[in-house]
């Protein structure tokens, strides 16, 4: 127990959600007699959920800023159909179509951001209206028809890293990616340890770091192995690649940049932020706009995967994305949440979905179980907060993002006598 505590930065509870994810995977691996961790299934899992996870990235920023976006499914569908039509009728090449889709997303986002940030209508209302509006637009411009997209565009949603280099029995690019990830994890861990030491902050013992690195890198290498040894023609999927890049970018933005700080500040206490010189309207506008851009991207990936855009694409996505964010430790009141947390939250839902499917559990029971998991995860977090402890999920996610964590447990200090000479 003590060893575990040291391993996970003083507090085993911090890693609750990752443990839950790992436990879930192991559970299904055992009960599906090994059908969970097969290359085919893992690739499938990523392909089938990447667009929800991309939405979760945008959604967590919206929720941190203290808003909500109910329109993402409709926006995704509208952008999807518009892009499909643009390719069919205007003969846009795939890259121009993607650019067009992102621009359309930005335009929609600007519309919603304008009403939310500058007119001051709650985002719940603005995006509820948007949900109807853009669903309507989708069916209006597409005449409620299904519009297919050409093969080069499908690559975006169902493509894989190509085979290059010598034949090794593995997909070389996937292996390369895995190795880069391992190197990145090791160097960043060592660097943050060095700076912490240089600043005089406390650092855990060396064996703690090494064990942690072995565990994390082991997981990465195992995933790499799974992705690299799939059925011929498959490897690490393109949507997964897009997702990974977005996680890196947005994780960085939210944790390390000025705009990221401002989003947390506005969500935490808008008045205090404004009196510190933060332009809260601009922040709100940008957060809403960004969400719609990502919704557009998710819509295009989905269209690519399903080879056509239809009138009922994206129905219910907003709720999946919101669930992922809240399981990942965000607070309804804003100011709390992380990108990585939301991804883990989304993966918990995805693994649950996938595993129950493999077990042959019906859609009815699957929904019941997912509902209970969402409730339990948030209840667990709330319970811990009311006990005066820090939010577990929030804290554990903090480890990944905003700080190089050394959290002391007691605060007896305020009780000290004022030892000031007078």
């Amino acid at each position: 127990m003590n060893a575990l505590k040291k391993l996970f930065g003083g507090n085993t509870r911090q890693f609750g959600m990752i443990f839950a994810l790992v436990a879930l995977v192991i559970f299904f691996q055992i009960f599906t007699s090994g059908r969970t961790l097969t290359p085919g299934n893992v690739i499938n899992l990523f392909n089938g959920n990447s667009y929800i996870l991309i939405l979760a990235i945008g959604m967590v920023l919206v929720i941190i800023a203290g808003h909500i976006d109910l329109s993402v499914g409709s926006v995704a569908a509208f952008v999807g159909i518009s892009v499909a039509l643009a390719i069919r009728d205007w003969h846009l090449p795939w890259y121009a179509a993607v650019l067009f889709g992102l621009l359309l997303g930005a335009l929609i986002g600007a519309w919603q951001g304008f009403w939310t940030a500058y007119v001051g209508i709650p985002a719940f209302i603005v995006t509820l209206a948007g949900m109807l509006l853009f669903r309507g637009f989708n069916q209006f411009v597409g005449k409620s028809n299904t519009v297919p997209v050409p093969e080069d565009f499908q690559y975006l949603g169902s493509g894989y890293l190509p085979e290059v280099g010598p034949s090794t029995g593995f997909n070389n690019l996937t292996v390369l990616l895995g190795l880069i990830a391992v190197a990145f994890v090791i160097t960043s861990e060592i660097r943050s340890r060095r700076t912490a030491q240089a600043l005089g902050a406390e650092v855990p013992e060396a064996w703690v770091m090494i064990t942690k690195l072995v565990l994390v890198n082991g997981a990465i290498l195992y995933a790499t192995y799974l992705f690299a040894t799939g059925r011929t023609g498959t490897s690490f999927p393109i949507p997964g690649l897009i997702l990974a890049v977005l996680v890196l970018i947005y994780g960085f933005i939210s944790a390390k940049t000025v705009i990221g700080r401002h989003i947390y500040a506005v969500g935490g206490n808008r008045h205090a932020a404004e009196l510190s010189g933060v332009q809260s309207k601009k922040v709100n506008f940008m957060v809403m706009m960004n969400m719609s851009i990502l919704a557009g991207l998710a819509g295009m990936i989905f269209v690519g995967r399903s080879t056509a855009s239809g009138p009922f694409d994206g129905v219910g996505w907003e709720l999946d994305a919101i669930a992922a964010v809240f399981i990942g430790g965000a607070a309804v009141t804003g100011g709390v949440g992380t990108v990585i947390g939301s991804i883990v939250g989304g993966l918990v839902m995805a693994v649950l979905n996938n595993g129950l499917q493999l077990l042959g559990v019906g859609a009815d029971l699957t929904q019941i179980i997912k509902g209970l998991v969402l409730l339990a995860a948030v209840a667990f977090d709330v319970y811990n907060k009311t006990q005066g402890k820090k939010s577990i999920i929030g804290m554990m996610m903090k480890n990944f993002g905003r700080s190089s964590e050394i959290a002391p447990d007691e605060t007896t200090s305020t009780k000290e006598v004022i030892s000031k000479e007078a």
Binding site: T195, A198, L199, A201, K256, T257, V258, I259, G260, R261, Y264, A265, G268, N269, H271, A272, A273, E274, L275, S276, G277, Q279, G335, V336, G388, K390, R402, S403, S404, E405, I406, A407, P408, D409, E410, T411, T412, S413, T414, K415, E416, V417, I418, K420, A422
Partner: protein, 518 residues
Amino acid sequence: MSTPTTHPDPILLEMRSITKEFPGVKALSDVSLRVKVGEIHAICGENGAGKSTLMKVLSGVYPYGSYDGDIVYQAEVQQFRDIRASEQAGIVIIHQELALIPELSITENIFLGNEPVRRGIIDWAEARKRSVELLARVGLREDPDTPIKEIGVGKQQLVEIAKALNKSVKLLILDEPTAALNESDSQHLLDLILGLKGRGITSIMISHKLNEIEQIADEITIIRDGKSIETLNVKEDGVDEDRIIKGMVGRTLESRFPDHTPKIGEVFFEVKDWNVGHPQIQDRLVCKNSTFHVRRGEIVGFAGLMGAGRTELARSVFGHSYGRFISGQVYKDGKPITMRSVRQAIDAGLGYVTEDRKSLGLNLLDDIKTTTVSANLKKISRGIVVDTNKEFMVAEQYRKSLRTKTPSVEEGVSKLSGGNQQKVVLAKWMFTDPDLLILDEPTRGIDVGAKYEIYGIIQQLANQGKGVIVISSELPELLGLSDRIYTIFEGSITGVLNKDEASQESLMKLMTSSRKAA
């Protein structure tokens, strides 16, 4: 159980060796408190000394079994399971943050959770009739149908007391009842508490305002570091403020203000003919033709009753962050400048520490280091990327120089005491390196020892050649700290007094009259 004691002065409440532990912290250890029937008993202690914890034990917020020791009330050992149980015994606590619903009327608030019912239906006629009586008893002349949000804090406090009276209170606990009130409202409230005493209601009062305690309390129990230190009888022991402070901090404070020799330079900041309209109400001015100036190295006080327009003036100057700007000009170093947003004001070298630390000054979800740099992220960023190492170092530096008491700068600001939170807010503004720092009620809700330190910081800033404006409702604070004091009444500046010509009386006169007498 207990043995009833016959006593010349009957004891209403005795708390015997109360010990309350939280994980890792002993909040109260062996605290004893005896309150006599019909007295006003004050509890004094610094922030974090355990006063509120003790009251929570008494009122059942921490139920029987979660603490050690006995509560003997009306000669019986009590085992309160929750607040309801203690209220049924006649113990009512009025918290510092008022528990009123802004949208509901006075009557509805008074009877909330205690509605008079006839055949399962609320009898509003009866409720209204009784609330008229209750309002008369607390001396509040308001229509009982007025929504709470439309009356001021002072009157809201009276409604709270009316609500307590409705519960046939025997022991009234008031936690910082006058913290948010201006002088005249405070006085009214204190008179009311004395009046209740005349009708046999015993009160326990927690307050940082020692002059008020000295004025109305019969006995004072001092708590320090979770232990009861002593109980003083105000009349017999001849207690004065210094005596109380000595008990609270465990030593004598020779002076409430650090020594300071001002080094005042030339005028560098001027506001001329400043007019600002009320944000909601058309045609109403919150600042009328205000003109004032600040010199380098000078601490300028702004005195005025609550609602006089001090905060409004300060915030409207600070980047038009309050009200509708109408006219006026700001000059800095002789040149006219415009600040239309808080950002521009910060860039122009202004800083503003708000009076309402929790709702306007801090993001309580943040830790110390992110708060410290939050108003000047540019200084620790390369491009758009925040350098978290620099952030840590900056926060550490301020933690040391301001002596903020915290295990680390990664501690959440919500865990700090009021005084230490204020130091973090000061650090945040010091880090923006302002030429003029406006401090709005800088020591509100802060204990004596920390006040002294904050005063020292303010004087240091002035010594560095910065101008400092201090807005305060506590006249002794303004008199002790300021080099010059402006008085404000109903949005107008009614006078300015130098340190040597100002007194509580002269200030009060200017603060309550529309045109200057002197």
